[in-house]
Structures are given as C-alpha cells and as structure tokens.
Symmetry: C3
Subunit: 141 residues, 3 copies
C-alpha cells in the first residue's frame, strides 16, 4: 500500500477546446500551468471516444471506439508523472442519445464541450513505475 499526504495547491475551472482530444488537452494544459500532480473531475459531451478495458490476466488493454456522440456523464482522473512528463489517467462513463452507457479507461475523446475542475496537489512528484503484479504503471507511493 501507498499513501502520500500532499498539500492542496491551486484550483482551476477549465473549459476544454471544442474539437480537441480531452486527454491530450488536459495533458497540454498541465504542461502550460506546470501542474505536476492533480486530481480532477469533468462533465460534458464528446463527439466520439475510445475506451479501454484492462485484461487482468493478459495484462493488455482491449479497446472500443464509440463513433456516436456521447454525454460525458462522469470523468474522474488524476495527473502524475510518467517518463518525466505529465500523465493523465482518466476513467469515464459515457451515455449515448438514449442514455445507454459504456464505461472504462478513457483513452481518447473528441470534445464537444467539457468542464473540468482541477485541484493541484503540491509536494513530491508522484511517478508512475511499472508494477509487475498488475502490469500497470502505478504510483511510486
């Protein structure tokens, strides 16, 4: 187990660019603002999206592309450091025009509109390192 106490840093409301990719957008925003560690939530709508589902035995992602517009009904994520750059890890629940949902690891999502609330966390960097048990890049805490 790992538990790290951090100091609450800056807080931001961010409006993602129309037609940007949400994950790339947050990554670039973090670089611009020099945010190294953060937690965030987001809501909005995506034009299309790609979700990932981790195979806990094969240690690889399967992916599904959702070509139809989706409500971004929930997005919870964090920013930490991977390979010396800001890395965004986000999970999302998406809903189609009938409210039917798909959810998973948000690999990509073309923004129709998105409102993001970010809390920066100050202290030591949180770095992702390969974890042999899960095959995932987990926090070094």
């Amino acid at each position: 187990m790992g538990s790290k106490e951090l100091k609450a840093g800056r807080t931001f409301l961010v409006r993602a660019d129309h037609d940007s990719d949400l994950i790339e957008f947050i990554t670039e925003w973090a670089k611009t603002q020099a945010v190294a560690v953060a937690s965030f939530t987001a809501i909005g709508a995506l034009k299309h999206a790609k979700l990932g589902f981790y195979d806990q035995q094969k240690h690889e992602y399967t992916e599904e592309v959702l070509f139809e517009p989706q409500e971004l009904a929930s997005c919870i994520g964090n920013i930490s450091t991977k390979e010396e750059a800001p890395f965004v890890h986000a999970h999302a629940v998406l809903a189609d025009r009938n409210g039917n949902t798909k959810a998973g690891h948000l690999l990509a999502g073309k923004v129709f509109a998105a409102e993001i609330y970010v809390t920066e966390l100050l202290g030591e960097k949180i770095v992702r390192r390969k974890d042999d048990v899960t095959g995932l890049a987990l926090w070094n805490i």
Copy 2:
C-alpha cells in the same frame, strides 16, 4: 480554451431534503449560502429522475424520464452564474434495482436521500453565455 484559477473557499457536506428536487435543492442551497462558484459530487438515491441528452447537431435536448427508483451512483456537477442567478450543471449515472444504468445530464431528480460534497471557489464570477458553436451556455473563461 479557457482556464481560470480560483481560490478554494468554504467546504460543505450537505444532506438534501427527502422529496426535494436535487437540482432545485442545490440551487436554493447555493443562494442561501451565497455560493456563486463551486464544484460538487453527490451520491444517494432518487425516487425518479429526468435525464437529458444533447443532440450535438440539432442543438437541443432529448429527455427521458425514469419513473422507477434509482441509485444515484455518480453525480458530478458545478455551480456558476447564468442570467444573474446561481446555476447548477450536473451529470449523473443512475442505476435501477438490478444495477442497470442510464446516464446523462441530470435535469431533475426527486431525492430519496443524497449526500453532497461541495467545494466553493472564490474569485471572479463564472458566467454562462450562449456559445454559437455548440448552442450551449458555456463558461466565459
């Protein structure tokens, strides 16, 4: 793109009134507490609810009423200003008695029980203005 740094203000835990409408409840609560900008999360259960799904081409919402009781499995939202009054924007993931989900923009939800965590954000007002590209009332940041 817009990005606004705000100062963390007051934090609250709020228990919504049984039989109130969750959106109206939060709106009235914000007026009472003079909260102009905030981010919140909520969990609980709703007696019934109305979800909206935005048609990204026609620029209008379609709606679906869920008449059965629902777990409020996730609710992420924010408070900003629209037409000079506090405006609550919330998305929700709902689950019926079998755990089957519907999700989208939470237009209304009759509270069975709801626990809300609110972080007030201080600084300039965040005002919603009509955005021509999306047809939505987006933050002026």
Copy 3:
C-alpha cells in the same frame, strides 16, 4: 435539510493494496490516519465486486455479485462516523471487458489496482443515525 461547513484538512493520494477489499482498505486507512470525515473519489480495476441497491419501500438492500473483472469507472464516496468508528459510504460504476456497466452502492470490491484521492474535512464529527423516513443511517446534520 442539513448543511455543515467544514474546514479542508489534509489531502492524500492513496494506492490501495492489490487483493484487498476496497471498502475495508479505505476504512482501515482512515483509522490509521485518524481521518474522521472525508470525501473521496477513486478509479482503477476490481477483480470482482458486490453492489447493493436499496429498496426504497421495503427498506432493505438487494445485492448483486459481479464475478468477472471490472473497471472501476467511477467511485465517489465519503467517510463519516457510524457506531463510533469510521464508516465508508461509496457508490461505484463498474464496467466489464466490453464496457457494459453495472452501478450502485459498492458493498465490496477486490482490488486489482485503485487510485484514491481523499480530502479530509475538519470540524465536528459527522455521525450517522438511523433515519425513520428512509430506513438509512444518515448524517446528523
């Protein structure tokens, strides 16, 4: 209605133990850190899970066990006091290998990996007491 202003306390990023139960893990972590009141979000993956759905008329939970691995697509929860001990209340949206979702009250979830963001809240204890109208143990605020 109840509304309680609390002071933002410590903030933590926490990595749950592989193979622990997520609810028990957070409960034990709260005891270790002496966290009495908090709000949290989490994302990750579970090996299996148990969800509850509250019957608003019979005032009892029905449960469903999900035996397959699940993405923890969303988890929103809080920590307060029940029967003089830290009590974790969490709702979750889970997604299977095809992104299909189940959601509800998270009763148990065997951790594959989980990243938790906790904000401690300082002030008076928030105590859960039986509420006759809903049959639930709600906050005394």
